[in-house]
Amino acid sequence: MDKKLEPIVKDLQDKFNITYEEHRGEAHCFVKPEQIIEVLTLLRDKHTFALLSALTAVDYYPQNNPRFHVIYQLTSLEKIAFLQLRVPVNGENPKLPTGTGVYHTCNWRERELMDMFGIQFEGHPDPRRILMPEGTEGHPLRKDFPLGYEEPQFTFNFEEINIRKPYAKE
């Protein structure tokens, strides 16, 4: 582990009982969903992690409990330290408290997660889709989302696809 991170991880372990893992030299802290806001606040205020450089998620479909890992990638510009928080979320009605009160960056990032993974953030100030147009069904980055939008059209199935393909009217 990075020496700068040792006291920080120890502090987190004492206060929140988190699990620590290391993967190729990267620090991963597994945090429970109900604790994430407190952990973020502590890291920002006490441990100088002023920058939330990424907020993303991974879908571990077909595993359902937990199905998603929401990943908070934090950077401390003061200490030049990097810490990754992973929050496991269930597949049924995935939900997390919003982090917009701690990092303003969370606003659009959380909208992206809502749009792409269908993870809801409770208390989000503006819970609209951010990338896909309004009215889109489903969440494209989920593993069970169909890959192809349309079956490829070849000579043997041209007629069949031609019938159900929408065409613009004059």
Binding site: M132, L147, G148, E150, P152, Y167, A168
Partner: protein
């Protein structure tokens, strides 16, 4: 045009109205810029000095739909771009035509996914499809020539985009 021989001393030439109208339509067809992706680079090349589309009456690529007759959709069209594409098409004055340039604009190309239209013919009525990824400038010019043949075959009274 070789018209002088026919003129003789009369100063008058007889032809059909359709000939005159389609001649003027095809020889001053101003395309609208609709470069969406890499095909736009080939469209620019077709416009530039090497291939020089202005030989065929396309001196100007207009940035405004109000001044253009032809929309060249060059590149993949995303679902969010669809309403914009349709709005610009609706703003173009009649008669108007559409060329879908490249595989993506014609049928979605390699982008068979949730974000891209599988052919812009889902959004606007397309007259000519130009295949290629991206098509060379010659291919685009051939597509334009094909469109000219289509325009020349149209009757003046009929709807322009049949």
């Amino acid at each position: 045009m070789g018209i002088e021989q026919k003129l003789g001393n009369m100063g008058v030439v007889t032809t059909t109205l359709e000939n005159v109208v389609t001649w003027s339509r095809t020889n001053a067809m101003w395309p609208m810029l609709f470069g969406l992706a890499c095909c736009a680079i080939e469209m620019m090349a077709a416009q530039a000095s090497d291939y020089d589309m202005s030989r065929f009456g396309m001196e100007l690529m207009r940035a405004s739909p109000r001044q253009s007759d032809l929309m060249i959709v060059a590149g993949r069209c995303s679902k969010k771009m669809g309403p914009v594409l349709r709005l610009l098409y609706d703003q173009m004055p009649e008669p108007k035509w559409v060329i879908a340039m490249g595989d993506c604009a014609s049928c979605g190309g390699v982008f068979n996914n949730y974000a891209i239209f599988q052919g812009v013919d889902e959004v606007v009525p397309v007259d000519v499809y130009v295949a290629g990824c991206p098509p060379r400038p010659e291919a685009l010019i051939h597509g334009v020539m094909t469109l000219y043949e289509k325009v020349k075959a149209q009757k003046v009274t009929a709807p322009a985009t049949a």
